[in-house]
C-alpha cells in the first residue's frame, strides 16, 4: 500500500487506467468502495459534527481480523469519537460501520456483544470490589453466574489482582484500575477488543503486563484496536496502524508500510504537521514579574 493512499482510496476505488478521459469527456468521479464484511471492522464515510466543529470527517477504514491495530493521531484528531461511533456509544451523523459483517447501527446491542470495549477508569462502578466488578461485567453480557465467577478468578490471577479481589476498585492504584477495566472488557471473550488510550497514566511494570496479555489475546485470533498518541508503543506492539488527523485517515496499512523505512514517529509528524520552531520566551529565565523572586509572593504567584 502506497503512502499516498489517502482516505479517499479506502472509501473510493481509483478510476480504471485504461479508461482515459478524452478531450470531450469529463473524468469519471471516484466510485465508493463497498464495506468489507470479512474485515473485523469496516468503516465507510463516518461523519460527526459537534456544533461548529467537525470531529470526524468522512472517515473510512478497514481493520483486518487478527490484527493488532493502532489508531494514532494528535489530540483532537477524532480517534475517541471514531471509536465511540464504531462501538455504538455515539450516534454518527452519517456513515456505515460493520463489525464482523454486522451493521452496528441496525442492531447496536448485538454488535456490542461481539466486542469488548475497555471502559475508562471513571466509567466503572468503583464501589464494587474487583471480583464483584468482573462478575457484574460477565453477568451483564448474559453469561451464567458460575461461568462469570470462574472467569473472573482466572482474569484476576492473570492480571495479578488476586490479592486485591476483595478490595473496592476505588482503592486501587491507577495501574490496577486499568487492569480491572481491561479484564471487564475481556470476560465475555469477545473477538474484538477496543481500547482507548489503555496505557495512559499506567506505570511501566503494569504497562508491560498489560501488553503481554494483549499480545497473548491477539495470538488466539482476536483483533485488538488501540488508540494512542505514543508512537513508540504503537511501533512495538501493533501490526497495523492508521494515522488520523482532523477527522480523516492520513495513512493506513501495516506499520512497515506506513513508516516506509523511517522512524514511525518522524513519519507521523510529517503526516500530521503542526511542528514549529521552539518559542522563545524572553521572561522564561526564572525571574518573577515585578520582583527578584525571593522576597515573598508577587503577582506572578497569584491566580490571574
Amino acid at each position: 500500500m502506497s503512502l499516498d493512499n489517502m482516505q479517499g482510496n479506502v472509501g473510493f476505488s481509483q478510476p480504471d487506467d485504461t479508461s482515459q478521459p478524452t478531450m470531450s469527456q469529463s473524468p469519471l468521479p471516484p466510485q465508493p468502495v463497498p464495506p468489507n464484511p470479512s474485515a473485523a471492522v469496516s468503516i465507510r464515510g463516518l461523519y460527526k459534527r459537534f456544533d461548529d466543529k467537525i470531529a470526524v470527517n468522512g472517515l473510512s477504514l478497514d481493520i483486518p481480523v487478527g490484527s493488532f491495530y493502532g489508531l494514532v493521531g494528535p489530540n483532537g484528531a477524532g480517534k475517541t469519537t471514531t471509536l465511540n461511533m464504531v462501538t455504538g456509544l455515539l450516534t454518527p451523523d452519517a456513515g456505515l460501520t460493520l463489525i464482523l459483517g454486522h451493521d452496528v447501527w441496525r442492531d447496536v446491542n448485538t454488535a456490542k456483544r461481539m466486542i469488548g470495549v475497555m471502559p475508562q477508569p471513571d466509567q466503572i462502578f468503583d464501589r464494587l470490589t474487583g471480583m464483584q466488578l468482573l462478575v457484574y461485567s460477565g453477568m451483564l453480557c448474559g453469561m451464567p453466574r458460575a461461568e462469570s465467577i470462574a472467569r473472573a478468578n482466572d482474569l484476576l490471577a492473570a492480571f495479578d489482582l488476586t490479592q486485591a479481589a476483595n478490595t473496592m476498585v476505588a482503592d486501587y492504584s491507577a495501574g490496577m484500575t486499568k487492569k480491572i477495566c481491561l479484564a471487564s472488557a475481556m470476560i465475555h471473550s469477545p473477538r474484538i477488543l477496543v481500547l482507548d488510550e489503555p496505557f495512559e497514566s499506567v506505570d511501566p511494570v503494569s504497562s508491560a503486563n498489560l501488553k503481554d496479555i494483549l499480545i497473548e489475546y491477539a495470538k488466539t485470533g482476536g483483533t485488538v484496536i488501540i488508540s494512542s498518541h505514543v508512537m513508540a508503543l504503537v511501533e512495538r506492539m501493533c501490526t497495523h496502524v492508521a494515522v488520523v488527523n482532523n477527522g480523516q485517515v492520513c495513512a493506513a496499512g501495516t506499520v512497515d508500510e506506513v513508516a516506509a523505512g523511517e522512524d514511525l514517529e518522524d513519519r507521523f509528524l510529517q503526516l500530521v504537521g503542526g511542528r514549529h520552531e521552539a518559542a522563545h520566551l524572553s521572561w522564561l529565565d526564572g525571574g518573577a514579574e515585578g520582583s527578584d523572586g525571593l522576597n515573598g509572593p508577587t503577582d506572578a504567584g497569584v491566580v490571574r
Binding site: 462501538t87 455504538g88 456509544l89 455515539l90 450516534t91 447496536v108 446491542n109 448485538t110 454488535a111 456490542k112 456483544r113 470495549v117 471502559p119 471513571d122 466509567q123 466503572i124 462502578f125 468503583d126 464501589r127 464494587l128 470490589t129 471480583m131 464483584q132 462478575v135 457484574y136 461485567s137 453477568m139 451483564l140 453480557c141 448474559g142 451464567p144 453466574r145 465467577i149 476483595n166 478490595t167 473496592m168 476505588a170 482503592d171 471487564s184 472488557a185 509572593p297 503577582d299 504567584g301 497569584v302 491566580v303 490571574r304
Partner: protein
C-alpha cells in the same frame, strides 16, 4: 491583600462564566435573586411592623405585670437573640449539607500557587462575604434596624453596625465547620458516617420547632426562663451580635465592647482553625485512606442469574455504600415521630405516616441514573436493554418499599396500641396497603422520570459538594415526581370517593376493600412505568450517557 481581592474577582468571574454557559444556571440565579430581594423586603416590612409595637402590653390576667415586648430582655430581644443564634448554627450546617465545599473555590485548587495560608484563607472568606447569601443577610439585618427606630438613633446605628458583624460571624463559623469536616474526615467510610450524622442533625434541628409545638411542650414553656437562656446565649459568639442594640439602649457600653471582643475572638479562632486545616492538608496530602474490603461477591451470589439480576445486585451493593440516598430511610422515621406527637390519641394520624413514607420513597430513584454516574456506561457498553435495567432496579426498590412499609406497620401498630383493638390491625393494614400502593406507583413513575428529568447530584466521594446546576433542577424536577405520584394513585382516590358517596354509612365497615384496590393500583402503575421507562431508556440511552458525562464534569 492583592491575593484576597484577586480571589474575590475570580469568584465573580467564575460565576459569570457559569451563567453564560448554562441557561438553567441563569434561571436559577435569577430565582435566587428574586428570593433574596423578597427576603430583604420581607424583613424590612416585619421590622417596620415590629417598630410600631408598644414597648409594653397589658397582661392577659389582672394582677400580672405588663408584658415586656420591645424593652431589654423582652419578647423581641429574646426572640431575636435566640433566632439569630439558631440561624448562625443552621447556616453552618446548611453550608456543609447543601452548599458544601464549593467546587470552584476550594482551598485545594490554590495549592500550587504558593499563596500564604492567611492570605488565602482571608481571600476565601472575603469571596464568601461577597456572595448573594451574605449580601442578603447584611441587607436584611440592616433593614431590621428599623425595628429599633423608636428606641433612639444610637440603637439604630448600633444595629446597623451589628449587621455585618453578625454575617461575618456566620460566615466564619461556616468556613470553620467546613474546613474541619473536609480535613479531619478523610476516609470514605468516615465521610459516609459524617454525612449521615450531619443529615440527621439537620433534619432533627429543622423538626424541633414542629415537635415542640405539636407535642404541647411549647405551651408549657416559662417565658422568663427562655429570657434567661437568651441572655446566656447573648454572651456567646452565636448571639452576641444580636444583643448589641440592646446594650446601646441600656447605655451599657462595657457590655457592648465585651460582646464585640467576643465576636472578634471568635473570628480569630475560626480563622486560626481554618489555617490550621490548610497546614494539616499539606502534611497528609496524598495519604491513601484505608482500603475497604468486602469478602465474596455479596448480592451477586443470590440475585437472579441474569443481566437484570446483575443490575439488581449492583444497585443493592451501592445502596449500602451510598450515604446520599439515606433520606429514603430517615424521613419515614421522622414522619412517625411527628405524627405521633400530633395524634393526641387519634391513631389514624399516626397511620397516615405510612402513606407519606410511600410517597417519598422513590424520590432518589426518580433521578436514579444521575446517582449511578458514569458507571452506567458499563451497561451501555454491554448492550443491556432499557427494560432489563428497569426490571433490575424495580426488583430492589419494590422489595425495599414493601419491607419498610411492613416494618412501619408493625411499629405504628405498637405505638398506637391498635394491635390490641378489634379492627385496629385491619384499619392499619388499609393504610399500609395504600402506602405500598403509593410507593409502587411512585416507583413506576420514577422509572420514567429518571430517563428524562435528570439533574446533577453530588458525587459519592464528596456527598457534601454541590455541582453547578443542581439547585434549580433539584427544586423543580422532584416536583414532577411528587405531583405525578398522586396522579398515579388517582384510581384509588376515585374508588374511595365513590365508596364514600355511594355507601356513606357502610363505608366504616367496607373501607378495607381499598386494600386490593390500592395494591392493584400500585402494581399496575409500576408495571406501566417500568415498561415505558424501558422504552424511553432504549431511545435515550446515548443521550443519557452524554448527560451523565456532563454531570461528571460539574462534579470536579
Amino acid at each position: 491583600m492583592t491575593a484576597a481581592l484577586t480571589l474575590v474577582r475570580m469568584r465573580w468571574a467564575l460565576t459569570w462564566a457559569t451563567l453564560r454557559k448554562s441557561v438553567w444556571q441563569t434561571v436559577g440565579y435569577a430565582i435566587a435573586l428574586v428570593f433574596a430581594v423578597g427576603t430583604v423586603i420581607g424583613v424590612a416590612a416585619l421590622a417596620w411592623l415590629v417598630g410600631t409595637l408598644p414597648p409594653f402590653v397589658p397582661p392577659e390576667a389582672p394582677g400580672l405585670p405588663p408584658v415586656n415586648l420591645l424593652g431589654p430582655h423582652g419578647v423581641i430581644n429574646t426572640v431575636v437573640v435566640l433566632f439569630g443564634a439558631f440561624l448562625t448554627l443552621a447556616v453552618g450546617l446548611f453550608q456543609i449539607m447543601l452548599l458544601g465545599e464549593g467546587s470552584t473555590m476550594s482551598p485545594r485548587k490554590f495549592a500550587l500557587y504558593g499563596i500564604p495560608d492567611r492570605e488565602l484563607q482571608f481571600g476565601l472568606l472575603l469571596s464568601g462575604l461577597t456572595g448573594i447569601p451574605a449580601i442578603t443577610g447584611v441587607l436584611s439585618l440592616l433593614c431590621w434596624s428599623l425595628a429599633y427606630r423608636a428606641m433612639g438613633p444610637a440603637v439604630v446605628v448600633t444595629a446597623v453596625v451589628a449587621a455585618p458583624l453578625a454575617v461575618v460571624t456566620m460566615m466564619s463559623v461556616s468556613k470553620m465547620l467546613l474546613s474541619l469536616s473536609t480535613t479531619l474526615v478523610t476516609s470514605r467510610r468516615g465521610q459516609g458516617v459524617f454525612y449521615i450524622i450531619v443529615v440527621l442533625l439537620f433534619v432533627g434541628v429543622m423538626q424541633v420547632p414542629n415537635i415542640l409545638v405539636n407535642s404541647g411542650v411549647a405551651e408549657g414553656l416559662d417565658v422568663a426562663g427562655i429570657a434567661l437562656i437568651a441572655a446566656a446565649v447573648a454572651w456567646t459568639p452565636f448571639g452576641a451580635a444580636f444583643q448589641l442594640p440592646y446594650d446601646a439602649l441600656l447605655g451599657d457600653w462595657p457590655a457592648l465592647l465585651a460582646r464585640v471582643a467576643i465576636l472578634a475572638v471568635a473570628w480569630m479562632l475560626c480563622f486560626m482553625v481554618c489555617t490550621w486545616c490548610l497546614r494539616r492538608e499539606r502534611l497528609v496530602a496524598g495519604k491513601s485512606s484505608e482500603a475497604v474490603k468486602a469478602k465474596g461477591i455479596g448480592a451477586f451470589g443470590w440475585m437472579p442469574d441474569s443481566p437484570s439480576g446483575a443490575v439488581s445486585a449492583r444497585l443493592l451493593t451501592y445502596l449500602r455504600r451510598d450515604p446520599r440516598q439515606l433520606m429514603m430511610f430517615i424521613m419515614p422515621v421522622f414522619f412517625i415521630i411527628i405524627f405521633s406527637l400530633q395524634a393526641h390519641g387519634e391513631s389514624g394520624m399516626v397511620w397516615q405516616s405510612l402513606i407519606w413514607a410511600g410517597w417519598i420513597f422513590a424520590i432518589a430513584e426518580s433521578n436514579g441514573l444521575a446517582y449511578d454516574g458514569r458507571g452506567f456506561t458499563m451497561q451501555v457498553i454491554a448492550g443491556v436493554s432499557g427494560f432489563t435495567d428497569r426490571i433490575g432496579r424495580v426488583r430492589v426498590y419494590a422489595a425495599i418499599i414493601v419491607a419498610y412499609e411492613l416494618l412501619m406497620f408493625v411499629a405504628v401498630a405498637i405505638i398506637t396500641g391498635d394491635w390490641t383493638r378489634p379492627g385496629g390491625l385491619l384499619f392499619g393494614a388499609t393504610f399500609a396497603a395504600v402506602g405500598i400502593g403509593m410507593g409502587l406507583s411512585g416507583l413506576g413513575l420514577a422509572e420514567i422520570t429518571s430517563c428524562v428529568l435528570m439533574y446533577p447530584v453530588a458525587s459519592m466521594d464528596k456527598p457534601f459538594s454541590s455541582p453547578q446546576g443542581r439547585m434549580v433542577a433539584q427544586g423543580f424536577f422532584p416536583l414532577a415526581y411528587l405531583i405525578g405520584s398522586f396522579v398515579a394513585m388517582l384510581p384509588t382516590g376515585i374508588v374511595t370517593i365513590v365508596m364514600i358517596a355511594v355507601f356513606p354509612i357502610e363505608f366504616g365497615m367496607i373501607y378495607w376493600l381499598l386494600i386490593p384496590v390500592a395494591l392493584a393500583n400500585g402494581a399496575g402503575a409500576l408495571a406501566l412505568g417500568s415498561w415505558l421507562g424501558g422504552k424511553l431508556l432504549d431511545a435515550r440511552m446515548l443521550s443519557v450517557v452524554r448527560t451523565l458525562d456532563s454531570f461528571a464534569s460539574l462534579q470536579q
